[in-house]
């Protein structure tokens, strides 16, 4: 049945300020309400962070994202020029070098970030999915890098496809994921896996914004930096 809705007046409705009790009829409206409630703009793009977000360890997450940007840009240049270009052009070889080294930096930053987050127990306070998406991003990145080694179209890619086939064949995956099929590996490397990594990293970052950066282990309401600012209702709730 079709709902007839009134035209919004100049003071109502399409603003994020629309009250939470406002009735939404469409999937789109309900999705918008959920998104604005879960991740309002000031939470998505904050201008402040808790005082404890002050350590060199926080650099590595952003370093990984910055490396991913450089990795994607260099990969796009390589992809636009075709698989053999970098063997024939000195500029192409240089771009290939930037692709290799940005991948190395990406993994370096990501691994330090991961270990840092482990020792910070960053899953605390409802952040389980943030942790899991981080590990999944790491695993998907390994797949993306592996297929990159396979599509170099040189001796290294020849050898890796020969040697690594035993692992994928032993799991049965090799029947559909043929490492010596360079056309198939190109599709995985320049389309499917980059999309997967980008999507998982985006979800990971959004979850960080939703939940905020985790507080130090054993942080308590009696700490100097919290003592004067804690909302009393939270104490009441915690006592129940």
């Amino acid at each position: 049945m079709t709902h007839i809705v009134q035209q919004p007046t100049s003071e109502s409705t399409d603003s994020p300020d629309r009250g939470p009790d406002e009735e939404f009829y469409t999937w789109t409206g309900k999705a918008r309400r959920w998104m604005l409630k879960t991740l309002p703009p000031d939470k998505l793009l904050p201008e402040t962070q808790p005082s404890y977000v002050a350590s060199w360890i926080y650099v590595f997450g952003m370093g990984a994202i910055a490396s991913l940007v450089v990795l994607i840009v260099s990969g796009v240049v390589l992809g636009l020029n075709g698989p053999s270009w970098w063997h024939l052009s000195s500029f192409g070889h240089f771009i290939n070098s930037t692709h290799l080294w940005s991948a190395e930096f990406f993994f370096l930053f990501m691994v330090v970030h991961l270990w840092g987050k482990f020792w910070m127990a960053s899953w605390r306070g409802g952040r389980l999915l943030t942790w899991i998406t981080g590990v999944v991003a790491f695993a998907a990145s390994i797949g993306a890098a592996f297929t990159g080694y396979l599509v170099q179209t040189n001796f290294e890619s020849e050898w890796i496809s020969y040697q690594a086939k035993d692992v994928v064949n032993a799991t049965g995956i090799g029947a559909w994921f043929n490492l010596a099929n360079v056309g198939q590996m190109f599709m995985w490397h320049i389309v499917l896996l980059p999309l997967a990594v980008a999507a998982i990293v985006a979800l990971h970052v959004l979850l960080v914004r939703v939940h905020g950066v985790v507080a130090p282990i054993d942080a308590a309401d009696t700490d100097t930096q919290l003592r004067d600012a804690v909302i009393p209702e939270l104490h009441d709730k915690a006592d129940k």
Binding site: T48, S51, S97, W119, G126, E158, T171, W176
Partner: protein, 316 residues
């Protein structure tokens, strides 16, 4: 009364970690940090690329193999013809050789997937390519007309003779090898001229994206493995994480590679299956660390977080 949550729990709870921070704050500029990050990493990558460049060892071909090591080519071709090469007896997904797949007990994922990329080494690597020649050698017709037992007898005899002659076809003593020496010689000529590469890969069509046949044929040779060994790329040389020369490879696979260096794993007939399952299980454990009491408590027991949040704890 609600159950007290562990301080290391992933659950939201009512603790400081589970609710919005209401304490002291510092200024933060996400876009500025991202911009600075991209600029710094770009400069770093450009500098390292300019200094160290990247490796690019030219690919080898059937032509380069046949020209640089013709004897090895003939020995390998005889093995393909007699179905005694690694590829011929590989099992799924290339062929259905009995008991060739890697299993753990009843778990046989390799056979479950089936023969999806069928390879008959004699037909696909040797007889098929020779049949594409404008004047198909008479030896091919003789081979095709012979029984399977006769074909096996010829290749066995020729293989033994090549062994005795240390792999040199010119030094092989006379014997009953049927058309095998002629066939291996014709294929060697075809490979030396370069036509075998295109015939094997493209199979007569203009386009090719799939190098399975060439890769398997090359992989059966001593030439290909010796090259990889000289570059420290084989599995037992940490090849998985080595790049060509001094370049770093996939160093993030260090744990995967480690299992191929240590007993009992490296000598297992099903090493690939066992090791990938162990690595998959360890990855899964890493993924669910927050759910595992003991493991998730490590960050509290080993107080590295005291260094990370040094300023916070100092001002508590």
């Amino acid at each position: 009364m609600s159950k007290q949550l562990s301080a290391m729990s992933w659950r939201k709870g009512n603790g400081v970690a589970g609710r919005p921070w209401n304490g002291a704050k510092r200024e933060y500029d996400l876009f500025k940090e991202l911009t600075v990050g991209v600029i710094v990493v770009s400069l770093l990558v450009v500098a390292v690329s300019a200094i160290f460049s990247s490796p690019d060892d030219k690919s080898v071909t059937l032509k380069s193999w046949a020209n640089s090591q013709p004897n090895d080519f003939v020995v390998t071709t005889n093995a393909e013809l007699g179905h005694t090469s690694d590829s011929a007896g590989y099992g799924p997904p290339y062929n259905s050789t009995t008991d060739a797949s890697q299993t753990i007990g009843a778990l046989d994922l390799q056979s479950l997937a089936g023969v999806k990329i069928p390879i008959d080494s004699a037909k696909d690597f040797v007889i098929g390519p020779l049949s594409t020649l404008p004047n198909t050698p008479a030896a091919v017709s003789t081979w095709k007309a012979a029984s399977s037992a006769q074909q096996t007898a010829w290749t066995d005899a020729y293989g033994k003779a090549l062994d005795t002659a240390k792999g040199d076809p010119a030094a092989v003593a006379s014997g009953n090898y049927g058309p095998v020496p002629a066939i291996t010689g014709e294929l060697l000529t075809m490979a030396k001229q370069g036509s075998l590469d295109s015939v094997l890969n493209a199979g007569g069509s203009f386009y090719n994206f799939n190098y399975t046949r060439s890769m398997l044929f090359l992989g059966d040779s001593a030439y290909f493995t010796d090259l990889a060994t000289s570059l420290h790329l084989t599995g037992d040389q940490w090849g998985m994480i080595n790049g060509i020369g001094y370049y770093p490879g996939q160093s993030w696979l260090w744990m995967f590679s480690l299992f191929y260096q240590i007993e009992p794993f490296k000598s297992l007939p099903n090493a690939d299956l066992v090791i990938i399952l162990i690595v998959a299980a360890l990855t899964m454990v890493l993924m669910i660390v927050p759910l595992i009491p003991g493991l998730r408590d490590l960050p509290r027991l080993i107080p590295i977080h005291r260094l990370i949040w040094k300023d916070y704890y100092k001002r508590r």
